[in-house]
């Protein structure tokens, strides 16, 4: 089993993430799409590190990707909750001003 099946799976994850990020109008749904894209990237790192260069740098990169995704989710959801308190809406098109 070569690298091709992993590339196909991670491509489908990436496609679904991009579709979610562009098609949805809900800010939290867009965050779900970002998580999918980050997972596709981490899966690519781990797959290429097994089949191409045989060291574990890719694993370390995948760990850092998971870390950054967790931090991004925390701050992003805090911003979403604050935005909902101010605007009573989570439509992406109603986020047009930096200051309420």
């Amino acid at each position: 089993m070569g690298i091709i099946p992993y590339i196909v799976v991670s491509s489908i994850l990436f496609i679904c993430g991009i579709i979610v990020m562009i098609a949805r109008k809900n800010i939290i749904a867009i965050l779900l799409g970002i998580e999918l894209v980050l997972n596709a990237a981490a899966l690519n790192f781990v797959a290429f590190t097994k089949f191409n260069n045989m060291n574990i740098d890719g694993h370390v990169f995948a760990l850092f990707i998971i870390l950054v995704a967790a931090a991004e989710a925390a701050v992003g959801l805090a911003i979403v909750i604050r935005f909902f308190q101010v605007r009573e809406s989570i439509h992406i098109d109603s986020a047009t001003q930096l200051q309420s």
């Binding site: 070569g2 998580e35 995948a62 850092f64 995704a69 931090a71 805090a78 604050r82």
Partner: protein
Amino acid sequence: MNMFLMIIFTLSAFLAVGGALSVAFAKNLIHACVYLLFSLIGVAGLYLTLGAEFVAATQLVVYVGGVVVLLLFAIMLTGGSNLHHVTSRFGLESTPLMGNLRTYIMGIVTALLLIAVLCNVLQGSISASAVVESKFSSTVEQIGVKLVTDHILAFEISSVLLLGALVGAAIIARPYRSSETEN
């Protein structure tokens, strides 16, 4: 042994791909979040077949235990999924804020363009990859040594990043009224 790996790969790939497609096309936001959970579990299984047990465990702990629960909390704090379907004049049902046919077409076109570009970029690496199954395993010890020798700067910076994210999230999401009384 190879057969076992094949079964795990098939199950995990099915879970990951099906979960991702369901996230993309689910009508209900909470359902999409739960499908994301299945997709993340599938990706953890794929890590297992790639010999990355520690990354798989971290994926399960951080994503499935942390991020998805956080997303569910945020969905419920912002009103949950108010399900009043809107029927357009063509008889198509749609849920507000979850996209319509036009935005889906735009998303699919953009994703296919990006995938075409990425395939062009990655062509050399994919064709240069080894097809033979090499004996490859990574232990927690190896990853730990790597983290505190080669990647020590990124390791330390990531601790500062986590602290900043924690404090920043707590400050941003504090109750709305207290900021008015302070000012």
